[in-house]
Amino acid sequence: MTDDTIVQAAGLTRRFGDVLAVDDASFELQADRIYGLLGRNGAGKTTLMHLLTGQDFPSAGALEVFGHAPAENAHVLQQLCFIKESQRYPDDFRVKHVLRSAPWFFENWDADFAEQLVDDFQLPLNRRIKKVSRGQLSAVGVIVGLASRAPLTFFDEPYLGLDAVARQTFYDRLLADYAEHPRTVVLSTHLIDEVADLLEHVLVIDRGRIILDEGADELRESATTLVGARATVDAFVGARDVLHRDGIGGLTSVTVTGLTAPERREATASGIELAPVSLQQLVVHLTRSSEKEFA
């Protein structure tokens, strides 16, 4: 634990009946970073965020956010903003009501920024929340999450229904605002490749367990794809740990873990092309292999 640690979970568990939605999760979050919380549907991402934001209570384990258990701790909760895909609003609320009331709860609220975002997303302020499209509803959450500038902000699949242009707007605004107002952001998402460049650290959760907790750069460097003639590539790969194998005709592409610099030179010298591995591929692979262990 360093001075910058703002979240510390040890053996964190949330049980619903027989189901372990979060299973013995231990990890830390550091201040002023963008985290990706990745995993399949039902892997436990939302439950984990419910625990971190005090909306749900742990069944077991220790959890500290800004040094305290978050549930029912006003001083902790005031530092948080949790934008979830399933956020419900009062039935009679219009879009403007959400934006009017948010500043009462978020000390760092930037009204000008919120207004600019409303323009960016072309949000109809006067429309009832119940009548807006899925994408517009997501935009409401995105605006609250960005303009609140909470020291610890969670976005739980914030992009549902947003088209590619609007999603890019979100990523651009997030990155620009993060550069000016550093804070910790946890982005839970399926669209891994879209946000790969934003993420500084990756947590992968599968069946309630944290199966990966690593810096995004280290993670990308942890594997390489080798492309070349089948015989050459196979000879080079030998007994290495293979993540993925693909081939067409005499060509083959094999993804392997951990290559040292001399090994990379050796591969290039023997006519093999080295390609970076996408975060998404890695996560898919890791999730699959963790499932095999369970099977």
Binding site: D56, F57, E72, H75, S86, P90
Partner: protein, 251 residues
């Protein structure tokens, strides 16, 4: 790292509770406007019905007597209980989404319900004064000053206020049950309360104390009963708080 560092966020309890209360009034329609529309509708319907009676049976003393026993104002109390349940259910998830604690949410809700009880007590008082000044809207009617509220404003005002408190705090207990356990919880909670009431009735019957109980009710109505109602009101308020403390936002 550039520009402005994030300000340390430390807001006091009172300010957080006020924020929750304001949340209820962000769109004032449901909580502040609709109850007045209900009140106005009750009033107009009552006047219309009495108008029909007066036209159909002119000078009938029984009819005039009946005008003193209007139960119309009871609706506004039930309506306030429903408003309390709905408002809590409506607002809870957003308040938590905005980082409010359950405690601050409950206290903020309580503030709103107290405020609503005072405002509606004042409204009924003003309408009652108008009613008296116009000889019951020209018909000798008692919509806002029925016999159940007692006679004289020194009795009526506290009676009305206690009734509002009873219904809104019962509503907040039911609201907390609904938020925590959903529709089924509401049914079970209602069933338990009904059972308790029936058991109390049974005890009174077994003790053969029906007549005494009736006499006690008669002797204390309405002022003493209104004060006694503060006991169940407080119990409901505390129960609502304890139930809500364990509630989680559901989808």
């Amino acid at each position: 790292m550039t520009a402005v560092a994030l300000a340390p966020v430390r807001r006091r309890g009172a300010s957080r509770i006020r924020s929750v209360a304001r949340l209820y009034f962000t769109n004032p329609m449901t909580i502040a406007v609709t109850p007045f529309i209900v009140l106005a509708t009750i009033f107009l319907l009552n006047i219309a019905v009495w108008g029909i009676i007066v036209v159909a049976a002119p000078g009938d003393p029984d009819a005039a007597d009946g005008f003193s026993y209007s139960g119309a104002s009871a609706w506004i109390f039930f309506y306030m209980a429903v408003v309390a349940i709905q408002a809590m259910n409506n607002t809870f998830r957003l308040a938590l989404g905005f980082g409010a604690t359950r405690r601050d949410f409950y206290l903020g809700s309580t503030l709103v319900f107290l405020l609503m009880s005072v405002i509606f007590t004042a409204a009924i008082t003003i309408l009652g004064l108008l009613e008296n000044a116009t000889n019951g809207w020209g018909l000798g009617g008692h919509i806002f000053t029925p016999v159940y509220f007692g006679s004289g404003w020194a009795v009526r005002i506290p009676v009305i206020l206690c009734l509002f408190l009873f219904f809104t705090f019962t509503g907040s207990a039911f609201g907390a049950v609904f938020v925590r356990w959903g529709r089924n919880g509401l049914l079970i909670f209602g069933g338990i309360l009904l059972t308790i009431v029936v058991l109390i009735g049974l005890v009174i019957a077994l003790l053969d104390a029906g007549a005494q109980f009736g006499a006690w009710l008669g002797a204390n109505a309405p002022f003493g009963l209104a004060l006694w109602s503060l006991v169940p009101s407080a119990v409901f308020w505390i129960a609502g708080f304890l139930i809500l403390r364990g509630a989680t936002p559901k989808n």
